[in-house]
């Protein structure tokens, strides 16, 4: 899956007379765009983004599932690639030969669940799910409860969220200290009601998503002041309909996901103007070649494509598969997880 930007430009339209109000999601073109990403290995950027490859597969695959084309990528090749990224320690690197990291291990688990390959894992390798889960659990800091990204100890609430996300998919939450992780998240709550990547770090919509996501997974959203946080989150919508991630920053399609999913978890999705946001996201798609960009006029990429599509799914845009705001995966798949049956 190439992380190469472009060639399309968000906001380009094929028929000159189309009015913004009539913009619709060009599902087939987005599917073709994502399928085409893998044939771009002759571009230097393909190789310069190798350190993101496994994330890229997750983004592309998830977008395809939400667009209702789950079989648009060959399952066997996807599985083969994911397994080739796994290292001796049980974790996954961004690409074969890269060191294990939480970011890629999380993507690997999400991909495996999405293509229904968790059982293949048990058959194809020793240790199966538990080997991955032990790698993740080993990254929890026993004193603070948070998680590091790798053996080098960088901590971030992103890693904590990914740990909970992956471990709940693997049904291995018992391997970690949930209570201390939850206290750590609470320590990240700021004076403005939001959350940052570490205690005292500035409130950021992306980090709010990770903290709320982690709390949702362990059913502890009761710890959050939903009204205050919902007010901060809904204040992210600007008059052009788009959302930003922090006060006084630019709007960006990816916040259609981080802000919106957070509002959905709090049950406050209706506090923003959905119609205006839909128009904003659609104004960022290249309706000729497919793909969505961060804002109108910029180059499209797979990252903004998946989060734009996921945002539209949350807003109930017709023709899309329902997304789970906690996992950014098709809801049908997450609802069937053994962890959520308990």
């Amino acid at each position: 899956m190439a992380l190469v930007a472009g060639p399309g430009i968000g906001g380009s339209r094929s028929s000159a007379g189309t009015l913004p109000a009539e913009l619709t999601l060009v599902i087939d073109k987005h599917v073709k765009y994502i399928q085409g990403l893998d044939s771009r290995k002759d571009e230097l950027d393909y190789w310069l983004t190798e350190h993101l490859r496994l994330n890229g597969v997750y983004w592309g695959l998830t977008a395809l599932h939400l667009l209702g084309h789950p079989d648009a990528l060959p399952r066997d090749k996807t599985l083969e690639f994911v397994l080739a990224c796994q290292n001796q320690d049980g974790g996954f690197g961004a690409a074969p030969g890269h060191d294990s990291h939480m970011l890629y291990t999380g993507s690997a688990v999400q991909i495996l669940a999405t293509i229904d390959a968790l059982t293949d894992l048990e058959v194809s390798q020793t240790g199966g799910k538990e080997r991955i889960a032990r790698y993740i659990a080993g990254l929890q800091d026993p004193t603070t409860g948070t998680f590091a990204g790798d053996e080098w100890g960088e901590t971030d609430t992103r890693f904590l969220y990914i740990a909970f996300n992956a471990l709940s998919i693997l049904d291995m939450m018992h391997l970690v200290n949930v209570e201390s992780a939850v206290s750590y998240i609470q320590a990240c709550a700021n004076f403005d009601g939001g959350f940052g990547r570490a205690p005292s770090a500035e409130t950021h919509a992306g980090q709010i998503f990770t903290c709320l996501g982690a709390l949702s997974i362990v059913r502890r959203l009761d710890l959050v002041d939903a009204e205050r946080l919902g007010a901060w989150l809904s204040d992210r919508q600007l008059s052009n309909g788009g959302l930003n991630g922090r006060p006084e920053k630019l709007v960006d399609v990816c916040y259609s996901w981080w802000v919106l999913s957070s509002l959905a978890m709090l049950g406050k999705l209706h506090w923003i103007d959905a119609a205006k946001l839909i128009t904003f996201i659609l104004s960022c798609q290249d309706s000729e070649h497919g793909g969505i960009s961060d804002m109108p006029g910029d180059m499209v990429d797979v990252f903004h494509t998946v989060f734009g599509v996921a945002g539209l799914s949350l807003l109930g845009y017709p023709g899309l598969v329902e997304v789970d705001p906690v996992y950014c995966m098709p809801k049908k798949i997450t609802q069937a997880l053994p962890y959520h049956q308990a």
Binding site: K41, H51, L83, P96
Partner: protein
């Protein structure tokens, strides 16, 4: 480090462009003993390098360097030439996290084998890092690398605050830099927090851009947050619990100074959410009711009886606060007037939120009767 290398060493690749076609390592006598390992993208054990061959035709410099990296990492070679190799690759692609991790291992091994004092080694590496940091503001490996290095030092390098300020001059809201800056304050509270150093630095940034939310967040950290964190770490629990327990001493002079600071900056830019959020945070920390801010807030809407749909309103945040203040003091009609003005004139994009607030006021009014 690499800048101090002996001159006998053959020159490092001059052209950093990853698009260059001429091989560098394959023709260098210093690397003749290494067999490069091409990328195999596929299942383990696959013999065919597959797409890697196609790549070589398009980006030989980068893929060549990567193939030598794979070879030296496979045998854990920690040497001068491998340090230069990491520099070469980082120059072309600083987001490649594995290279950074490998570089740290090499540095530590070299300091030991060459008898370099850790402090000297760190300072030389920081020197090298400076230029790369300027060119890659969004990269986060660079800041992690920096933190790892500085954590090895017993004292704050005098140049460090200057360097952070310099980088923020390119992007004053850079999340990595602010995170690093907080780490720096906690690692070296003396002198950063025991003197006025950080406070003055953050004041300068707010003066430059009063809407810099990152700077406001840092101000809270400098004035209150660092102490809160210490208490959280000492007692366990979280901020809310510790504040509720009254476990933190509230310095009244400090609170008054910060309330006035926020008010002054709100007066300067009444529609700036950062200063309002900060004021709310300080009030909460000091357990002061927002109702104490009634007169202050009314100043931004044209007074208690002003027409809230008219241009006498200079701040939607003031209306938001007044809606709360009037509700708390039992002036439900005034509260609803504020919310109505917000939903219909000043912030219609969030109409549903303001409607929700109005419903809450209705409920409270009913209970009050």
């Amino acid at each position: 480090m690499s800048k101090a290398q002996p001159s006998a060493v053959p020159s490092r690749p001059k052209n950093k462009s990853a698009k260059k076609r001429e091989p560098f390592y394959a023709v260098s006598p210093r690397w003749s003993d290494v067999s490069p390992i091409p990328l195999i993208e596929g299942p383990p054990g696959q013999k065919d390098p597959g797409p890697a061959l196609a790549t070589i035709a398009y980006s030989p410099r980068y893929s060549e360097a990567m193939s030598y990296l794979r070879a030296v990492m496979a045998v854990n070679e920690f040497s001068r030439r491998t340090l230069e190799l990491t520099e070469d690759i980082i120059g072309m692609n600083p987001a490649h996290y594995t290279v950074w991790l490998y570089r740290v291992k090499i540095l530590k091994a070299l300091w030991e084998s060459e008898g370099t004092r850790t402090e000297d080694g760190v300072m030389a590496e920081l020197d090298w890092l400076e230029e790369i940091s300027e060119r890659n503001l969004k990269n986060y490996q660079i800041w992690h690398h920096r933190q790892l290095l500085v954590s090895l030092l017993p004292k704050l390098p005098t140049t460090e605050p200057e360097f952070v300020a310099h980088i923020l001059s390119f992007d004053s809201k850079n999340y990595h830099v602010w995170t690093y800056r907080q780490w720096l304050c906690r690692r070296f509270p003396d002198p950063l927090l025991t003197t006025e150093m950080e406070l003055q630095a953050v004041d300068a940034l707010i003066s430059e851009d009063v809407r810099n939310n990152s700077a406001w967040n840092h101000r809270y950290f400098v004035c209150f947050g660092a102490d809160e964190l210490k208490a959280i770490e000492a007692e366990g629990g979280n901020r809310k619990e510790i504040l509720a327990k009254g476990g933190l001493v509230v310095d009244e002079d400090l609170v008054e100074r910060e309330i006035n600071y926020a008010k002054d900056h709100i007066a300067w830019a009444p529609q700036n959410p950062s200063a309002w959020n900060y004021l709310k945070g300080v009030l909460q920390r000091a357990a002061i009711s927002v109702a104490d801010m009634q007169v202050f807030c009314e100043g931004f809407v044209g007074g208690r009886h002003a027409d809230l749909m008219s241009d006498s309103v200079r701040s939607s945040h003031a209306l938001d606060w007044l809606a709360d203040i009037y509700r708390l003091t039992g002036h439900f009609d005034s509260s609803k007037r504020c919310l109505h003005a917000l939903a219909n004139k000043w912030d219609p994009v969030r109409r549903k939120y303001w409607d929700f607030r109005a419903k809450q006021v209705d409920e409270e009014a009913r209970e009050d009767q």
